[in-house]
């Protein structure tokens, strides 16, 4: 194991870099990619995973949320949403906006979703929240 690779893996173990960043650094070294959760090079991801853990909020200490949604379900849902009449779409948009999500469901198309799925297949999103929670979104 050479020094550079060792240093990158140490930073990953210490939490100084995310899995995605470590993978990019290893790739830049020309090393074999380290195995990581989700879709490292997954061409046809089957599930969208969302993990939330590590709440420091006293009302939900140490809470964990783990959601797995099949991509085919998302595809079927998008196709179904495309068939909704305009009035229904507006009502859904209004309800989403009231809950803090400014999304226009009538403009989501199947081809857009396919593009997102392709990109998500090679990406892991990690976000550290203000209450100490960590959110990970990835595909597998």
């Amino acid at each position: 194991m050479n020094e550079e690779r060792h240093r990158i893996l140490d930073m990953l173990a210490a939490g100084k870099v995310s899995v995605a960043d470590a993978d990019k650094l290893l790739a830049a070294l020309g090393e074999p990619r380290a195995a990581a959760p989700a879709a490292q090079g997954t061409r046809d991801p089957k599930f969208l995973r969302v993990e939330v853990e590590g709440y420091l909020d006293p009302t939900m200490p140490g809470g964990k949320v783990n959601v797995r949604v099949p991509f085919n379900l998302l595809r079927a849902g998008v196709k179904l949403a495309a068939l909704l009449p305009a009035g229904v779409g507006d009502q859904i948009n209004k309800a989403l906006k009231q809950n803090g999500m400014d999304i226009d469901v009538t403009k989501v198309k199947t081809e857009d979703l396919e593009g997102i799925v392709e990109q998500l297949g090679e990406m892991t999103v990690e976000v550290d929240g203000p209450k100490g929670e960590r959110v990970r979104v990835f595909c597998e």
């Binding site: 939900m60 200490p61 949320v65 783990n66 196709k79």
Partner: protein, 87 residues
């Protein structure tokens, strides 16, 4: 073709339940067909142009139900502790 979900596994606290939803297939199929038939008849009477749309929509509903297989929602927190998986 994806088969509809057969079981739902529900963990709540220390309890774990396996719910055989495949037993509901005949009932769900009947309800789906009847509701689709009523909607199609209503559209034929009031808006014949909407008939292909309702057929697509009804097929889409069935597909969404079938693709639920594999969905999992797990929450471990003091206020809520459950793990629901659809097989």
């Amino acid at each position: 073709m994806t088969f509809p979900p057969s079981f739902v596994r529900l963990e709540h606290g220390r309890h774990c339940f396996w719910i055989p939803i495949f037993l509901l297939w005949p009932l769900l199929l009947l309800a789906w067909l009847l509701a689709g038939l009523c909607a199609a008849v209503a559209l034929l009477v009031f808006s014949p142009r909407g008939l292909p749309l309702i057929l697509d929509f009804w097929g889409g509903l069935a597909r969404v139900f079938c693709e639920l297989r594999g969905t999992r929602v797990a929450v471990r927190a003091p206020g809520a502790d459950f793990d629901l998986t659809v097989y």
